[in-house]
C-alpha cells in the first residue's frame, strides 16, 4: 500500500519538479499501538517524509555595526529555486479539458445551494435525479463531485463548506441508487469560481456541486 502510494506520488511529483519523495521506501506510517488513545496511523492514509526544520542558529546573519567594518558580500538572497512552468501545468490543462468535454457530453447538471448552506433544494433534487439516471445507465463511468463556494467568508472555512456540499450531493445520489463506490467528493472551496463578479447573480452560480466524469482514475 505504502509502496503503491509512494510510486504514485513520485510519478506525479517527478513531473512537477523531478525529485523523489523523502521517506518513500521507508516505513512511512508509524503504528500507534496505543488502544485507549486516539493516537495511531490513519486509516488508508499515508505520511510522507519529514526533514528537520528546527531553527539552527539565531542572529540572522547580522554581524552588528562596526567602527572598522569589513566588507560583507551580499548574496542574491535567492534561497528560491527556479520553477519550470512547462509540463505539469499543460498536462493538467489538457486533462481538465477532457473532463469538461466528457461531462458536457453526458449532460450532467450542477446542483446549487443557498448562502452558507449545504441543503439540497427541490431544484437540486431534480437536477441530481437526472444526473442519477445518466450515471446508472453508464455503468463504467466514475464521477467526481466538486464542492464550490462563493467568494464570501474565509478560504479555509469555505473548503469545509464545499466538502459539505459535495457530500450532500453524493449522499442524495446514493439515496437514488447510485453506487457510492462510483462517486468521489472533493472540495475546492472558493478557489475555482466560474464567475468573478461581486454580485449575488454571480455568487449563486459559484455555490454549487459540480459533477464531473473522471477521465482517469
Amino acid at each position: 500500500m505504502n509502496k503503491t502510494l509512494c510510486t504514485f506520488g513520485v510519478a506525479l511529483v517527478a513531473s512537477v519538479a523531478l525529485i523523489g519523495m523523502p521517506g518513500c521506501g521507508k516505513k512511512s506510517v508509524q503504528s500507534g499501538g496505543d488502544s485507549q488513545s486516539s493516537q495511531g496511523p490513519a486509516k488508508g492514509g499515508s505520511v510522507g517524509g519529514y526533514p528537520d526544520t528546527g531553527v539552527q542558529s539565531g542572529g540572522g546573519g547580522l554581524r552588528g555595526l562596526d567602527k572598522n567594518p569589513s566588507e560583507e558580500r551580499v548574496g542574491s538572497g535567492t534561497m528560491l529555486a527556479k520553477v519550470d512552468p512547462s509540463g505539469a501545468a499543460g498536462q493538467q490543462t489538457d486533462e481538465i479539458r477532457a473532463e469538461q468535454a466528457a461531462s458536457a457530453a453526458a449532460g450532467l447538471r450542477d446542483v446549487f445551494f443557498a448562502y452558507d448552506s449545504w441543503i439540497i433544494t427541490e431544484e437540486g433534487r431534480q437536477a441530481l435525479s437526472r444526473d442519477a439516471e445518466w450515471i446508472k445507465s453508464n455503468q463504467n463511468a466514475l464521477l467526481k463531485i466538486e464542492g464550490h463556494c462563493d467568494e464570501r467568508g474565509t478560504s479555509a472555512y469555505n473548503l469545509v463548506l464545499g466538502e459539505k456540499r459535495a457530500k450532500a450531493a453524493r449522499n442524495y445520489l446514493v439515496e437514488l441508487g447510485v453506487g457510492a463506490n462510483r462517486l468521489s467528493v472533493v472540495s475546492y472551496g472558493k478557489e475555482r469560481p466560474v464567475c468573478i463578479e461581486h454580485a449575488e447573480s454571480c455568487y449563486q452560480q459559484n455555490r454549487r456541486g459540480h459533477l464531473v466524469v473522471k477521465t482517469r482514475k
Partner: protein
C-alpha cells in the same frame, strides 16, 4: 533623567524587552496595542542621504528610498525629515571631518537620536557590475559614530543591502533581528490555476514556486524558513498536505488521509504539524509528530474543526470550530485538552493567527456582513477591529516582530495583499499584478 540619557537606556534593548513583558502581564482595562502604548516612544532617526560616488544616477537615491521605507516600517524608529529641522544633509564622509561635527551638533540639539548616512558606488567588474555601499551611524546619546557597515554585491542586490542595513539598526537598538529581510509566501492566480509565490516583505521580487497548473493553497512556513507546507490536490481529485523546499523546489506529500487535508501549521519548534482532516467523517484537528510520524487526533466532536495556530510557546492552539452553525475561535492545549471558546462577538469568527509575542490573536470577524480583521487577547478580555469597509479580508499573518499583519483583501475588487500595523494604522498595499493574490504567510525572521 535627561532626554539623551533616557534614549541611551533604550539602546541596550533590555528596557524595550522588559516593556513587552509588562504588556503581557498587564491587567490594564484599557484597550491598547503595544505600538500605541502612551509610553511607547519611537527612536527618532534621520537619514542624511546616500551619496552617489560613481555609477548610475539612480543608485544612491534608490538605496536611500529603500532605507527610508524600511525604517518607517520597522515601527521602532520615527523617521524625521532633516531639512524641516533646518539640518541640510551634506557629505559627512566617514564622520571624522570638522564639517560632520557641526552636523552632529545640530542633530543632537534638535533631539534626533540617530543619524544615518552613507555612500554607494557601482563599478564595472570583469563580468558583471559590482556595487559597494557603505553606511554609517551617529548616535547622539553617546555623541559618537558608533559604527557602520560595508556591503558589496551585484546590482540585483541593492535593495537587499538596504534591508540588511536597517535590520542591523533595529538589532542595535532593540536586540531583535528586524523584519526587512523577511519574506511573504502567498497564492497567485496563474490562468485557472493558483500557484505558490514568495516575495520580499515589501512586495518586491516575487518568485513563483509551484507550477503544477491546479490549486496550491494556504502556505505556512517552517520555523527555519527553508520549507513551506500547504494544501494541494493530487490529480485534482485528492487533497493532500504537501511540503516544498524553497532552495531546490523539491516537493512531496506529507499527509494524504482522504477527505479534507487543510490548514497545516507547524509548531514553533518544528516538532509538530497541526492540521485539519475529514477522513474520519467531519473536519477534525490532528497533529503529526514530525519525528516519529505518529498522528494524534486532537478534537472529537460533531462540528467542523480547522485552522489551528500555535501559541509562541507551543503549548496551546487557537482554532476554528462551528458548533451551532457559525465558525468561532476556540483555544485548547496542544494535546487537545482543555477546550474552551474564545470569541462570543458576532456569528462568524475564523482564520486565527496567534501573535509571535503571544499577546494577541488576529482573525477574520464578520461585522455588518463584511469580513474584516480583528484582534483579541487570548484571555478574551480585549478585542479590537482593525479594518473597515467593504470587501472580504482574509488570512491574517503576523510579522515575526509582532508589529504588523499581512492579509488579503478584496477592498479594491480583486484580491490583493496588504500590510497593516498591529494597531490598525499604516495600511500598505503590497501586490499590484495579476487578478488574484491571497493567503499571505509572513516568514519567521532569519
Amino acid at each position: 533623567m535627561t532626554r539623551v540619557k533616557m534614549i541611551s537606556a533604550w539602546f541596550g534593548g533590555v528596557l524595550f524587552l522588559a516593556g513587552v513583558v509588562n504588556i503581557l502581564e498587564s491587567g490594564a482595562a484599557d484597550v491598547f496595542l503595544e505600538v500605541t502604548r502612551p509610553d511607547f516612544q519611537k527612536i527618532s532617526l534621520g537619514i542624511a542621504g546616500i551619496q552617489n560616488k560613481g555609477g548610475p544616477d539612480w543608485l544612491g537615491g534608490r538605496i536611500e528610498e529603500v532605507l527610508k521605507k524600511d525604517v518607517k516600517r520597522s515601527l521602532v524608529f520615527d523617521l524625521v525629515d532633516l531639512p524641516s529641522l533646518g539640518i541640510t544633509p551634506t557629505d559627512i564622509g566617514n564622520g571624522t571631518g570638522t564639517g560632520s561635527k557641526a552636523v552632529f551638533k545640530q542633530v543632537a540639539e534638535k533631539g534626533v537620536s540617530v543619524l544615518v548616512w552613507g555612500k554607494a558606488v557601482m563599478k564595472e567588474a570583469q563580468k558583471d557590475a559590482d556595487v559597494n555601499m557603505e553606511g554609517f551611524v551617529y548616535d547622539s546619546g553617546s555623541d559618537e559614530v558608533v559604527g557602520g557597515k560595508r556591503y558589496a554585491g551585484s546590482p540585483s542586490v541593492v535593495r537587499l543591502m538596504a534591508h540588511r542595513f536597517v535590520d542591523e539598526l533595529v538589532f542595535r537598538y532593540t536586540g531583535e533581528p528586524g523584519i526587512a529581510r523577511t519574506k511573504i509566501a502567498y497564492v497567485a492566480q496563474q490562468g485557472t490555476a493558483r500557484e505558490l509565490f514568495v516575495m520580499d516583505y515589501d512586495g518586491y521580487d516575487a518568485r513563483q514556486l509551484t507550477a503544477d497548473g491546479f490549486l496550491n493553497l494556504m502556505p505556512q512556513w517552517s520555523p527555519d524558513r527553508r520549507f513551506l507546507v500547504f494544501t494541494a490536490y493530487r490529480d485534482r481529485n485528492t487533497q493532500s498536505i504537501d511540503m516544498i523546499e524553497l532552495a531546490t523546489g523539491k516537493r512531496w506529500t506529507l499527509i494524504s488521509l482522504g477527505g479534507l487535508n487543510i490548514t497545516p501549521s507547524l509548531s514553533p519548534d518544528g516538532n509538530f504539524l497541526a492540521f485539519a482532516s475529514s477522513h474520519e467523517g467531519n473536519s477534525e484537528l490532528y497533529r503529526l509528530d514530525t519525528r516519529t510520524k505518529a498522528i494524534q487526533r486532537l478534537t472529537i466532536n460533531p462540528s467542523g474543526d480547522l485552522s489551528p495556530s500555535w501559541s509562541p510557546n507551543g503549548r496551546e492552539l487557537v482554532f476554528v470550530s462551528d458548533p451551532g452553525g457559525g465558525p468561532q475561535l476556540f483555544l485548547m492545549g496542544s494535546d487537545g485538552t482543555n477546550v474552551r471558546r474564545l470569541t462570543f462577538d458576532g456569528d462568524y469568527n475564523a482564520a486565527p493567527a496567534w501573535s509571535p509575542r503571544g499577546n494577541w490573536i488576529a482573525y477574520v470577524c464578520r461585522t455588518q456582513k463584511e469580513y474584516k480583521l480583528c484582534v483579541i487577547s487570548p484571555d478574551g478580555q480585549k478585542r479590537v477591529q482593525l479594518t473597515t469597509g467593504s470587501g472580504v479580508d482574509d488570512s491574517p499573518s503576523w510579522s515575526p516582530d509582532g508589529r504588523h499583519l499581512v492579509f488579503s483583501s478584496m477592498v479594491d475588487g480583486k484580491s490583493h495583499i496588504y500590510m497593516i500595523g498591529a494597531d490598525g494604522k499604516d495600511l500598505e498595499r503590497l501586490t499590484f499584478q495579476g487578478t488574484h493574490n491571497s493567503a499571505p504567510a509572513w516568514s519567521p525572521a532569519s
